[in-house]
């Protein structure tokens, strides 16, 4: 019988003694479970009788705060600018109307069951907080097809400006790198770093990984075709024998678009498995709203936030009637995006105001295009995933639902950022659709325009309730302002993806919310 304690026994013991937080700490120390900071829902209890909290903003962060604080016994009220809860968690369906800043109004014409997710659209498997509450609130999730070898890569300056399959480009990149590295070993360039045994092992790896032939060359042959695909794929009968495909020129393969896309899928946040809610990302916001429905006041435009020794007073205007009102509470959870909050009169401290003003917002643009038939599936064998381009639209992404159906499909026809996004944002909605069709057609020239039916676009720089997509911190602003921004100041605490290191993700908003209300509750009990 073994006398030493197994790792599992030890962890179980720590878990029982110290709860999930201690277990998490221990597991992290042992090199496990480092994928999330979520340690389970907060254990808040014993709120003072009658203690009240005003939550500003009914995005996921605000609604989670409201849900957990009200469960803990607080009297909670949420003020929301829109006539809808969910914030940036949002889907546009046929029949919806959206008016952006500047007044351009779009009537969305998608077929029933189809949608555009203007904001979040994919959920990493390690965003445990979001996944936990999706399960708790009954949100059905399905796989989001993130990685598709058969989708395209396109750069106007490579491969003669023609799109190539990701599979071909990535295989050729790896094959050529393997061949070159092997050459370096043979030329004794790595003798200082590697023992003879290491070199043999590495050569074997390069041969197997890079699909090198007996001469350690990456060439047009059946070996390389095993990774990059065939000219004629293996079949049955008379013409069953495969014909290899021609490898690309190395100078094209080392194009920036190729390795950027390869590296993109290596990002922790972009790794498979990813998920999406069945029926659109907005289902999450709807499920959260169901939990806090009674606490919500819609059409409330916050105009002033003042706190003093006695409590917090928030002035707001009913955007439907124009009536100005005040709401009072003991505490305030402010989940308003920073660009908007920066323009609201308040008596927060100078450093806090500086922190709020210090973080600019991203300008992403998304465009949804409904096509009469799913030609990417029937003609190109592309089921989900993304085709990348150096044009303004940045990508075309293929829907992960209703696969194989005869009816229409809604493509994501743009997910632009930076210069491309500014250009698209400055257009009218009609011009954006035209640009998306012209650029996306590079991948599907025969069908793209022909099958197009209707489209919708959201330029985040013109979204009336955020004026931007999400907070763009950098190392300097983090260092100078982050701790000030997240610090509980008297009776007010800020919540949102902007108050997290998981910026621009729903998970960041939720983790920020749980951390903020835990500190707020502690402060309230000490008061």
């Amino acid at each position: 019988m073994q006398t030493h304690t197994t790792r599992r026994q030890l962890l179980t013991a720590i878990g029982m003694m110290g709860g999930t937080a201690a277990l998490y700490q221990a597991m992290t120390t042992m090199g496990h479970a480092a994928e999330t900071q979520f340690a389970g829902p907060p254990n808040l209890s014993g709120a003072r009788t009658g203690a009240s909290v005003l939550v500003l903003g009914a995005g996921l962060g605000g609604m989670l705060a409201a849900y957990e604080l009200s469960k803990a016994g607080y009297k909670v009220r949420i003020l929301e600018y829109q006539n809808r809860a969910g914030g940036r968690n949002w889907s546009l369906y046929g029949g919806d109307t959206y008016t952006e800043l500047g007044g351009a109004t779009q009537k969305v014409g998608f077929a029933p069951g189809h949608y555009l997710n203007p904001g979040p659209w994919r959920i990493p498997h390690h965003h445990r907080t979001l996944l936990h509450y999706c399960k708790s609130f009954g949100v059905s999730l399905e796989p989001f097809i993130q990685f598709n070898h058969n989708a395209f890569v396109h750069n106007e300056h490579a491969f003669g400006g023609k799109p190539v399959h990701f599979r071909e480009a990535a295989a050729d990149f790896e094959g050529n790198v393997a061949e070159l590295l092997n050459k370096a070993i043979d030329q004794k360039a790595l003798d200082a770093e590697l023992t003879t045994e290491d070199k043999d092992k590495l050569k074997e790896a390069l041969r197997g990984w890079g699909m090198l032939d007996a001469d350690m060359k990456y060439k047009t042959n059946l070996l390389s075709s095993e990774h990059r695909g065939y000219e004629r794929t293996p079949g049955g009968g008379v013409n069953g024998a495969p014909i290899p495909s021609e490898v690309f020129k190395f100078r094209d393969v080392i194009d920036v678009q190729v390795w950027k896309n390869m590296a993109f899928f290596m990002n922790h946040e972009m790794q498979t498995t990813m998920f999406q809610p069945v029926g659109g990302m907005g289902m999450i916001g709807k499920a959260f709203a169901k939990q806090v429905g009674g606490m919500l006041t819609y059409n409330a435009k916050v105009t002033k936030i003042m706190q003093d020794k006695a409590g917090v007073t928030v002035s707001y205007t009913d955007t439907a009637t124009g009536k100005a009102t005040e709401a009072k509470a003991d505490y305030c959870v402010c989940a308003i995006p920073l660009g908007v909050l920066n323009q609201i009169e308040n008596n927060l401290s100078g450093p806090k105001k500086s922190a709020i003003a210090a973080v600019p917002y991203g300008n992403q643009v998304k465009i949804g295009l409904q096509m009469a038939r799913r030609f990417w599936e029937t003609d190109d064998y592309i089921y989900g995933g993304h085709s990348f381009t150096s044009q303004d639209i940045a990508l075309v992404s293929y829907p992960n639902y209703k696969l194989f159906e005869d009816g229409p499909g809604v493509l994501l026809g743009a997910f632009a950022n930076g210069a491309g996004a500014f250009r698209l944002a400055g257009m009218t909605p009609e011009q954006r659709i035209e640009a998306a069709l012209a650029q996306g057609a590079v991948f599907h020239p025969k069908t793209y325009r022909k099958e197009f039916q209707t489209g919708a676009s959201v330029a985040w720089s013109r979204v009336p309730w955020t004026m931007g997509c999400c907070a763009r911190w950098n190392e300097e602003t983090r260092k100078q302002h982050y701790q000030t921004l997240v610090a509980l100041e008297d009776r007010t605490v800020l919540v949102g993806e902007h108050a997290s290191y998981v910026g621009c993700w729903m998970e960041g908003a939720l983790l920020s919310s749980l951390d903020a209300i835990t500190r707020l509750h502690k402060r309230a009990l000490e008061a």
């Binding site: 800043l101 210069a419 944002a425 763009r472």
Partner: protein
């Protein structure tokens, strides 16, 4: 002009913010290869208009995008330049997107259009001075 000089000096002491990380959920594509805008009008249409609108009147929702049309702040040429270089609130610094020549061109453009009539052109050197170059 005293106001202008004082403002410019103040800006000289403020380091230009490091290029912001995009971070978060991004498309994952390589750098955009579309031709860059050159003239003031091109820069306005391809960059500024995305927020400030084609008529430069901005917009109002939960927050407010300021109008550049008939904006007396533009009388001081360092005002538009510093906004572009440093950003303000939700507006990002645009130095990773625009070079001093483009910034000068668009500052000149907004100061002479949309009901603004401040004729003195903004020069590339003025922009560089504000950027501390």
């Amino acid at each position: 002009m005293i106001k202008h000089t004082a403002f410019a000096l103040l800006l000289l002491t403020v380091p230009v913010l490091a290029q912001a990380n995009a971070g978060g959920d991004t498309a994952g594509s390589s750098a955009n290869t579309t031709a860059r805008p050159v003239t003031g009008e091109q820069v306005y249409v391809q960059v500024c208009q995305g927020c400030h609108m084609a008529d430069a009147k901005g917009g109002v929702g939960a927050g407010r995008i300021p109008a550049l049309a008939k904006n007396s702040n533009l009388e001081d040429p360092s005002y538009p330049v510093s906004m572009i270089v440093q950003g303000r609130g939700a507006m990002p610094p645009l130095t990773d997107l625009l070079n001093p020549a483009q910034i000068a061109a668009v500052a000149t453009y907004v100061r002479t259009h949309f009901g603004n009539n401040y004729k003195k052109p903004v020069k590339e050197a003025d922009v560089k001075a504000i950027m501390g170059q």
